[in-house]
Amino acid sequence: MPEIAGVGPARARRPFFGRLAEQYRTSNKVGYVMVLPYIAHFLLFTAYPLVFALILVFNRWDIVTPMEFIGLRNIQRLFRDATFWTAVVNTLKFLCCHIPLQIVLSLLIAVILNGPIKFRSFFRGAFFLPFVISGAVVTILWQQLYSTDAGILNLILTRIGMQPVPWLTDPAWAIYSIAIMATWKNMGFYIVLFLAGLQNVPPELYEAASIDGANRTQQFWGITLPLLQPVMLLVVILSTIGGFSLFIEPFVMTGGGPAESTLSVVLYLYKQAFQFLRMGYAATIGFALAIMIFIVTFIQRRLLDTDQPV
């Protein structure tokens, strides 16, 4: 037995490398030239930064003085850093408001638009407009609309006899105000996704259901919603990634305040790196962020896509 075990791999190896060499000889060499830009880009702008990020996690570095190895202290610090966890909780609060709002409103409008509607492309175009506009513009504009004293949102509220809302000045409100704005900015995009999903529902299903006596509401809950599950999953995943990537919104509107109530993870990373020059710690936050995005999308796939393997 040992003889065979010793000979086996050696025998297998030679034909393997032989085959590889043979395949290389018959390979189209132009292919290597053509993928060269990608390889160069990958090595310089993905592989190198990735390795460097990993090194930074174990070091303290302010760019100016030499790097100092500190072992796991960045990671320990991250777990004890109350401000970091505030940023995570803020993101979760944002998502708890943003995702349900996004799904309900986009789906509602997509269902209406999917009916026999005139001017469909005008409406679709209007809803999609904020999605193509820079986040900087949208945020600067909404900061004005949200202004407690001079904003037109509060002007409208007081006109119809309601109390003005301290949109961005009250820590209890601010993150939800940002969530509403983000919903407004991205809704057109999700409407288009839902519309595509709705158009993929076979009409025979509705016909069969109405012959069986199911009314429109029953058809919606029994046919439309289950068939839209893949789109729903996409919406949830993309909104979650968007939530964890929040930066320009708090950067422009609130600077993370009031009382750190709108501090996002990326804004915290930015502050650690460029205000306090803690490159090692900022890279650690970057890793934590990437891991959280992976975990959340993985869980959501499992929860929402129960009958399909991940």
């Binding site: 292919g31 409406f123 600067i140 288009v192 990326v266 970057g286």
Partner: protein, 272 residues
């Protein structure tokens, strides 16, 4: 009953559409209004003036920023189209050892969130001495994984006869790609072009990190800093005017090519 739900649908849609369009109209109007009229709902004022715009031109080099943004976005978009289609072509149509591994690498690296690489990328740019230069903005954006995947998928669907016939005529792979495949790939070129251009035009975090000099800033960065840095003072009209100048090129392009924008950007979500 049917008519009632239909009417209700239209009313709902119209209200919704208004909440999406009105803020932009308000912004355009506010950029032209005198300060004391900005806190009103009216879109038209008798006192419209270009004072907000002239204030922007006086206080920040916004013309330079417009040029920078245009230059960076156009160069990187052109490069993404050429290089990504080249890689996509090789991965779709050429046979060579390691091809599938490279494709898997493209798929894998697409899943890495950009924020993870932000700090080391910044340090790399500092070490290369690229800060405050076009190189920092353009070179990392010369090729795109999304573009490679979209081109590869499309090129796989083109008939092999085309390639065979061209090869018999003695065409090189470069000529097959740029003279035979490109003219057949207009929809994909438009899609990748729009996604890349809009992404580049609207990008704000990366320029904020690698550019400090006002003369090298892009539009989103300069408009943001004009607003956040307090340079605009309390002049809301000037802030809105700066924001308008950032939004207007995209809005105009969107009005002309709406369908392409929607189809392309919806795809960008599905492709990641």
């Amino acid at each position: 009953m049917r008519n009632l739900t239909k009417a209700l649908g239209y009313i709902l849609l119209t209200i919704a559409a208004l909440t999406f369009i009105y803020p932009f109209l308000w912004m355009a109007s506010a950029s032209l209004k005198p300060e004391n009229e900005i806190g009103t709902l009216a879109l038209i004022s008798r006192n419209f003036s270009l004072r907000g715009y002239s204030a922007v031109f006086k206080q920040i080099p916004i013309g330079r920023a417009l040029f920078n943004s245009g230059f960076v976005s156009i160069t990187s978009t052109a490069s993404v189209l050429v290089l990504s289609s080249m890689v996509g072509y090789a991965l779709a149509r050429l046979r060579f050892v390691g091809r599938d591994s490279i494709f898997n690498l493209v798929l894998l690296t697409m899943m890495i969130p950009g924020q993870l690489l932000l700090i080391p990328m910044y340090i790399l740019v500092v070490r290369l001495g690229w800060t405050d230069s076009y190189r920092a903005l353009i070179i990392p954006a010369l090729i795109s994984n999304m573009g490679i995947i979209v081109f590869r998928q499309f090129f796989k669907s083109l008939p092999q006869d085309l390639v065979d016939a061209a090869r018999i005529d003695g065409c090189s792979d470069y000529r097959i790609l740029f003279q035979i495949f490109w003219p057949l790939s207009k929809p994909v070129l438009i899609t990748v072009g729009i996604i890349t251009f809009i992404g580049s035009w609207n990008e704000v975090l990366w320029p904020l990190i690698v550019i400090r000099r006002w003369s090298m800033m892009t539009m989103p960065q300069m408009v943001t800093l004009f607003h956040v840095g307090g340079l605009a003072g309390a002049q809301v009209a000037a802030e809105m005017a700066a924001a308008m100048m950032l939004a207007l090129p995209v809005i105009v392009a969107y009005l002309f090519f709406q369908r392409y924008f929607i189809e392309s950007l919806a795809l960008s979500g599905i492709k990641g």
